[in-house]
């Protein structure tokens, strides 16, 4: 009953925050609704971007991965994301500047302006299709969490309706401003609860070092590279995970949405540099909560000792909370994971709705008014959530297996994006061919060998995983096809503003001003 009250309170508070955004008139025009009128300050930007990326996987999944495989998990979502600070800055600096100048609101806008309508349609569709399983996995997680937290008082399927209805309500009402505010509030909540649980787990055995000493005595393999006779956390395996997650994050909808929504240059820079640092702190903690849980009584459970399945390991976060915290605080800690899933759904669903309305619908109806676009965007939010709930209806639908390809598939779009901003010879043929080949190879590897072939090093691919092989081939195709084809009229025309001298970091920089 207590857990149900917490969940309902979180949902109602989120709707209230969004309602305030709606009442204060932040959703009147299309610019207001889709990109918050480019008015977000740096604190909201940082919190919202972080919350929209940190999913249930970062909480329950990373604790479980730490529990099963040890410190190598730090290369999955923590230290490997720090390079995003400069990668996002260099790549999305032009997204920020040209987005302001050309009133971009969607992910397809830079591709459309640079390569034409083919890429304007292709990019949002590719990212949408790739990330649907990822979204469904979050919604399945929400359903399962509600069922477990309420001790079956609310069934899995009732939970599927209960929370997405609230999510749809506050996304439809509040627009980007509402999304950012809700993400900020929910992000602060789950970050605080991670600190609480970390402290509780480490305090149980006298502090961080004594806890790790205990774990080391029982499971020294969790502290090794190449453990399990060279099977777990080998160098190629670490590199494959680390690069896939980081490069995929460059190309997700969230950095575009937040670049367009930033009010100031300072806010944009603070957002990109703070993201990796906060991930290192927060997600390292969830990983170490999992490692530290090996010292708790829960590790005596037959299902959680020695060889542990990923499904059982995902329960470690909640079990550690139950064992180390009073009931009501434990419920809040688990609710933190629940809000992490909600914020990811918020960011992804709103990003996709924005793309569909501004890239696809406007192509079909170029004369659509701002009011009509906003109305269509709201319909898209409801539609995307309805599709996700329908797919998640069967809790055993194996979408988690497919969710991993979201990052890999998104990452192959980095070449067209880079070419749009930095290579004058990039052509639409190169961009389309690279995206098609990269996406096709990822799907082929998934079909042939499942997750393992996409994520783990393969001897026949020179010890690369399927993702990296697809990524490299997409790059070769992009450069090869671009060099072999001529620039069309759209590419020629786009050079004037995509490569305008004022966008060069050199000529307009005045060192005395920047200090």
């Amino acid at each position: 009953m207590y857990a149900l009250a917490i969940i309902t309170a979180i949902c109602l508070a989120s709707v209230l925050v969004s309602y305030v955004a709606f009442r204060r008139g932040f959703t009147h025009s299309a610019d207001d609704y889709f990109v918050a009128g480019s008015s977000l300050g740096y604190f909201v930007l940082i919190s919202s971007l972080l919350a929209s990326f940190v999913s249930a996987f970062a909480m329950f999944g990373m604790a479980g991965l730490g529990y099963r495989t040890g410190f190598g998990a730090l290369f999955v979502l923590t230290v490997n994301l720090v390079p995003l600070g400069f990668l996002w800055y260099f790549i999305h600096r032009k997204t920020f500047l040209l987005g302001k100048a050309r009133k971009w609101r969607s992910m397809g806008a830079p591709f459309g302006d640079r390569y034409g309508d083919g890429m304007r349609v292709m990019i949002p569709l590719v990212v949408l299709v790739a990330s649907i399983p990822y979204l469904v996995a979050q919604i399945q997680g929400i359903g399962v969490m509600i069922e477990v937290m309420t001790e079956n008082m609310v069934s899995y399927r009732a939970g599927l309706f209960f929370v997405p209805v609230f999510i749809a309500l506050y996304l439809i009402m509040g627009g980007m401003k509402g999304v950012a505010w809700v993400n900020t509030a929910q992000g602060l909540f789950f970050t605080f609860m991670v600190f609480v649980l970390f402290y509780a787990v480490m305090s149980k055995n006298g502090g961080f070092v004594p806890t790790m000493d205990l774990v080391y005595q029982k499971h020294p393999e969790l502290f090794q590279l190449g453990a399990g006779q060279g099977r777990v956390w080998t160098y190629p395996m670490l590199f494959g995970f680390a690069s896939a997650m980081c490069l995929g994050a460059v190309c997700f909808p969230q950095p575009y949405m937040h670049a367009y929504s930033s009010r100031t240059v300072k806010g944009f820079k603070a957002m990109v540099v703070a993201f990796g640092a906060i991930c290192v702190v927060v997600i390292s903690m969830t990983t170490m909560i999992g490692i530290g849980a090996r010292s708790l009584a829960l590790a005596q459970d037959p299902a959680l000792s020695d060889v542990v399945s990923p499904i059982d390991a995902d329960k470690v976060y909640g079990l550690a909370a139950s064992e180390t915290l009073p009931y009501w605080v434990a419920a809040l800690a688990v609710a933190g994971g629940f809000t992490a899933a909600m914020t990811t759904v918020n960011g992804m669903v709103f990003g996709h709705a924005t793309n569909i309305a501004n890239d696809l619908y406007r192509l079909v109806r170029p004369e659509a008014s701002a009011r009509e676009l906003v109305r269509f965007g709201r319909l898209c939010i409801a539609g995307i959530l309805a599709v996700c709930v329908a797919i998640a209806w069967n809790p055993n639908t194996p979408v988690a297996e497919l969710a991993v390809i979201a990052f890999g598939i998104s990452a192959v779009t980095i070449f067209p994006l880079w070419g749009a901003y930095f290579w004058k010879r990039a052509t639409r043929h190169g961009a389309i061919a690279a995206t098609a080949v990269g996406v096709g190879m990822n799907i082929m590897f998934l079909g042939l060998g499942g997750n393992a072939m996409v994520l783990f090093p393969q001897a026949f691919l020179f010890n690369l995983n399927g993702f990296l092989a697809s990524f490299l081939v997409a790059g070769v195709v992009f450069f090869g096809v671009s060099l072999a084809t001529r620039l069309g009229a759209t590419e020629q025309r786009s050079l004037a503003f995509f490569f305008h001298p004022s966008l060069d970091p050199g000529p307009h920089c005045k060192p005395e001003q920047s200090r």
Binding site: F71, V79, F86, M212, P220, V273, L503, P507, C509
Partner: protein
């Protein structure tokens, strides 16, 4: 101006970013597989990874907020004026998502 853009300090930052990215993605040189020493309970190689990440984060912050090579808010109005002018000249009113 070009000379300033191409200063060795700017290039040094870029090189440092890529070297540190490599170290954050791939612990080559962190030591052999198998048992390792620990610092404050954390394996040596994981501490090293966290240190590289901290250095990279610090360098990124310095580059973005304490050097002349990144854009800043004072330049924004001028940049917008130039970009909007070129659009009107070359391509007519911006297409984008307007």
């Amino acid at each position: 101006m070009k000379q300033r853009n191409g200063t060795w300090q700017n290039r040094a930052f870029i090189v440092a970013f890529f070297v540190l990215t490599w170290l954050c993605w791939n612990p080559w040189g962190y030591g052999p597989y198998g048992p390792v020493g620990r610092i404050l309970g954390v394996p040596y190689w994981a501490v090293l990874a966290l240190v590289w990440a901290a250095i990279l984060c610090l360098l990124e912050w310095i580059y973005l907020f304490r050097t002349p090579w990144s854009m800043n808010d004072e330049q924004l109005p001028g940049l917008m004026a130039q970009l909007e002018a070129v659009e009107t000249e070359v391509s007519g009113p911006s297409k984008g998502n307007e």
